[in-house]
Amino acid sequence: MEKKTPLYEQHVALGGRMVPFAGYLLPVQYPTGVIAEHMAVRQHAGLFDVSHMGEALLEGPDAEKNLNEILSNNFTGMPLGSARYTLMLYENGGVVDDLIVYRTGQQKFFLVLNAANTQKDLEWLQLHLKGNAALQDISAQVAQIALQGPDAAKLLATLAEQSLLPVKYYAFTENVKVAGAVCMVSRTGYTGEAGYELYLAPKDAPAVWDALVAAGATPCGLGARDTLRLEAAMPLYGHELSATIDPLSAGLGFAVKLDKPEFIGKGALLAIGQPAEVRVGLKVTGRGIVREEEDVLIGEEKIGKTTSGTHCPAVGAACAMAYVASQHSAVGTAVEVLVRGRRVEAEIVPLPFYKKSR
């Protein structure tokens, strides 16, 4: 039995096509359709219900130390009001989850976890916590709305005091009133556009959502969320990241600090050295849509496999991400992808596929 987010009624009222996702009922699209929703984010401002994500608090004198030892990024000296993207690894270097850590206090951190991995993440963290630090699952007390697009700042400023809104990417501000409701507002997102993620009490979510829609934001579903993140080459756990994929092969070295004294998975990453397979972007040059789990070939040789793929509306082409053998990963390499028995020509291109213009 799927759970409903605090915004379920909003989605139904807007004509959302509800589907089960990570244990919740969420809209895959509204009558607008995936492509129009995608372009609304690229050109104006789109709105997403992301309340299904998991949230946790880690508090205590040893909180920072635990984050440094359990996660791949460095959290020493992380400023208050800043957020950091990080991986959480298994001993063998594979990924437990990718997550964002917000520093809300000297000894207090707010963690945002993938919906599908929330339980697994909490158990892993709890298992590895040492010393004076306490972990609290607050997922049920936090609703989340994402506002993304070139007009997001202008739009949000009509509902909140502009001087209080975070400006720098990955900065956040707590206790900002948006449409009268107290929110934590962060300059983060999963679309490749400038925008915000609002964390707020579930009871306040419907009114804030309605206010943002009234102010001109276009409601967007899971379909557009996926096409947007793919254009922006953002990894999705279960596709570009998994228990059998390490973050260096994934091209996420910026979130892995190998110079830290110790963290789970460090030894395995050092042993891997140069990855044998790396994540690349493919742009289809032939006819067809490349999707996940399709073989990438050069002639008769299989050089890799795709992990995600779809038609990318703002790029105007079908694009995919894949892991291919390092020696064949140069930009410009011509490949073919086996799509339901048919060879579709593609080319390795730089990531991201789409870069925002303003």
């Binding site: 895959v28 699209q29 359709g33 995936v34 492509i35 379909g223 096409t227 779809t310 038609h311 079908a318």
Partner: protein, 128 residues
Amino acid sequence: MNFPKHLMYSKTHEWVEKINETTARVGLTQYAQDELGDLVFVNLPAVGDAVTEGHSFGDVESVKAVSDIFSPVTGKVAAVNEELLDAPQKINEDPYGAWMVEVKDITAFGELLDDICYAAYCEAAQDA
């Protein structure tokens, strides 16, 4: 939902327009395009290909998924609507104008419903 009276419909949501006893045009119904969502790619057969009633003769791709198109007739492909190859969204915009193939030398028609029966069939499918 719009289901023009002069067309016949298959249970796999294709429409058939009989041009004469052995020639027909085939497309996807409004119900089909609504279920599929924004179409981004169409794979159609070639002129001269044989099609068999009840068997897939091509597929359409929406942003999220691929779906087979099933031939409601047995015959030979006489014409293909090339326009759809570059503009698959025309199927969403005008499902009954966006014919996909014209089939000639028809030797068999599959089980086809009139607009009333098809409308009822779609309603039942929605409630399921």
